[in-house]
Symmetry: C2
Subunit: 480 residues, 2 copies
Amino acid sequence: MSTTPDSAVRTYIEAHKTAFLDDLADWLRIPSVSADPDRSADVRRSAEWLAAALTRTGFPVTEIWDTRPLALPGGPPGAPAVYAEWPSGDPDAPTVLVYGHHDVQPAARADGWDTDPFEPVVRDGRLYARGAADDKGQVFFHALGVRAHLAATGRTAPAVNLKLLIEGEEESGSPNFPALIKARADRLACDAVIVSDTGMWSEDTPTVCTGMRGLADCQIDLYGPDQDIHSGSFGGAVPNPAAEAARLVAALHDADHRVAIPGFYDGVVELTDQERELFAELPFDEARWLRTAKSYATSGEVGHTTLERIWARPTAEVNGIGGGYQGPGGKTIVPASAQLKLSFRLVAGQDTDRIQRLVTEWVADRLPAGIRHEITFWGATRPCLTPLDHPALQSVVRAMGRAFGTGIRFTREGGSGPAADLQDVLDVPVLFLGISVPSDGWHSVNEKVELDLLLKGVETSAYLWSDLAETRTTGSWKQT
Amino acid sequence: MSTTPDSAVRTYIEAHKTAFLDDLADWLRIPSVSADPDRSADVRRSAEWLAAALTRTGFPVTEIWDTRPLALPGGPPGAPAVYAEWPSGDPDAPTVLVYGHHDVQPAARADGWDTDPFEPVVRDGRLYARGAADDKGQVFFHALGVRAHLAATGRTAPAVNLKLLIEGEEESGSPNFPALIKARADRLACDAVIVSDTGMWSEDTPTVCTGMRGLADCQIDLYGPDQDIHSGSFGGAVPNPAAEAARLVAALHDADHRVAIPGFYDGVVELTDQERELFAELPFDEARWLRTAKSYATSGEVGHTTLERIWARPTAEVNGIGGGYQGPGGKTIVPASAQLKLSFRLVAGQDTDRIQRLVTEWVADRLPAGIRHEITFWGATRPCLTPLDHPALQSVVRAMGRAFGTGIRFTREGGSGPAADLQDVLDVPVLFLGISVPSDGWHSVNEKVELDLLLKGVETSAYLWSDLAETRTTGSWKQT
């Protein structure tokens, strides 16, 4: 099924990679931080930049889809998505929707970046910038990929009907994404979704991801005294909201590091023995993984390996905690308030609405008299899984195999994306094509993408469309 | 023993109160925040202001005592104290040392103050400013008090040998104060110490305080990953320093709200039945106290009343907690670090060095593999108690009784001061003369002092020196 000549693809990429990287750097300069209301104009600018770039690429249809009209009262205001469409011209061609996002995590030089997170620099074969890997780099490789596909095949339009949906609020939990895809389901209709927002095992072990965890994250504000009060005059005789925030966190897990919220594990799809063996066969070096995690010990749910913990087990994590005096020296107060930011990673079988309800009830039940609270969920993302033997997944595996020149293995992704919503609303399989590696520093300082892997992504994209067009003729892609 | 005519005192105060309040306001404009290294020049300016004011008052000796040469390596750098001396001229006169402090707690308009904390304003008979009650107002009433004493008695020097020691690092835990008083013990030699850094029951129920709790406070820094890492990629498989900080806090107390650090209560001087009855007889309105505490419930050690909890029981309090993302929205990370600020109030029988050691060991024992930590104690203040029937204490009670025109009752103070160090180093009894009330907002926003009480403080000071001089002839003040 190698209908796209490999050498022609490589020649085309080599000739165009400098302009491609310059373009990507332009995009990375836009600080499209969707979680920060002050950056909403930048998120819009990022969408406009991408739409213009896709028009230059050749997409005959590029549109900016505003999610603001879909936002719930009191909820996040929404951020624009980019939609693009390039029909094949072949009436039998399958339709493939590529998903990614153009918004990024917060980043500031002061967090410890070696260089400005929004001023891309290439160093030692790596491109450093917020969003280089998560997700602008992985979105943008498809732009050069489709051009290489056309150049190598002599086509004037892709072998598949190609659609792109690049959202602008993934890093804020995609609060309006489900509503967006429901409202635009007719435009988004397709035979399969390709998600380019995941990673692979390592540079040496290219892999295809078969599932992602879901996410429910929230902020809990706790209020005690109406203002900070003197800990000598009042301490020890009134409840302390910082202490209560801490007690909530401490109660989140039992002694076996299992999440202790009643009902949390109900319905969880447990790993089969075969899946556990597949995980165990991967060349996992725990000491090396710890270095990538910049951590000094493993720790987690008793009875599971590290890979099982991050790929296939639900978790509760404290993303932030704050309350009282955090300046220099001491200040002997009982704080007026405290705040928690918690996130729950979810796996197949867990319903996000139900988890939000369980957490909400659990918090309310645990807080003592004199502590008032508010809980705000930032939106939720459902977990998702794709069968290993799916024909379109096999197509992705072949395209990657040609680009990387080696066999492709399977992983899952511990992170979360709106893949499950696409699967549910569009009723099609979701496949994952990502070229990022764990050291890329997603959500962290000094995020980067490996330039050689970025170009392998371009190459995979270039091979994929012809392969999918041929695969499609062998049967339906619908999952039973 | 009413050798100072009351009417003459009152006439003098009435004639000079405007200038007195103007002077005090000048002093309050100096943001002498000792906990903030950026304010060290202001703390020095505050010391210089006070020394000049005491010289104007008539003290023949005023000195600024630098504590920087005494500071321990790596410890707080020290802040200047003010020392003043006014000999009686009478060879039989007792020597009395007044203690207070001229540094203040941190304060910023943005914390929720109605007006600039360092721009004093008088509103509804109250003077609002950081330090108005804690402690500049209470230090400064002695300046007008001694003048009124002289004017009313026709003396040219006080009836006692009057010494003042007004330190500059009380709000930072007085780290260099013990070394200072040890180094200057010869200059500070006296028969009794009057501490003016406490409060009284209420405007209607003037009281004399007989003891203060001690304090040991610390900062604990916890370190996990070398940088914030993605909670999807790594969460649930490595230890989280914010969660571990929270677990420490949750483990600080048992289900009965007793401090759970092993050995913490060893040696604690328990309340006698008589003392508990004395506390219980005070006109304590818990609902009203809660309003003063700006709190919505009482909570604390099982088996003790609220007054016992705040006056006579040791506590562990979280003054601040912070870690991970605290900005707007969510950020799905495992944080690199977290920080706790804890303070322990101590009572008679608890040794500060031993408590610091117990806390240090307890923290080290509880943290799991992969979490590194540092613990820094900001210095410690010993608890202190004075017998109810002490003759000099009775002298304070009489002076207050004349100023307030009513009987004086007894309390303790839940807060902490260096009184115990003065008692230990100088080997003399420590008495408390304070006119602040609980609503004054110590360490909080909108700190104020009631102007009428401030002038009662002036009046008490004016009566006190003659009364003490006469009392002294009846026997030694040394405590057995």
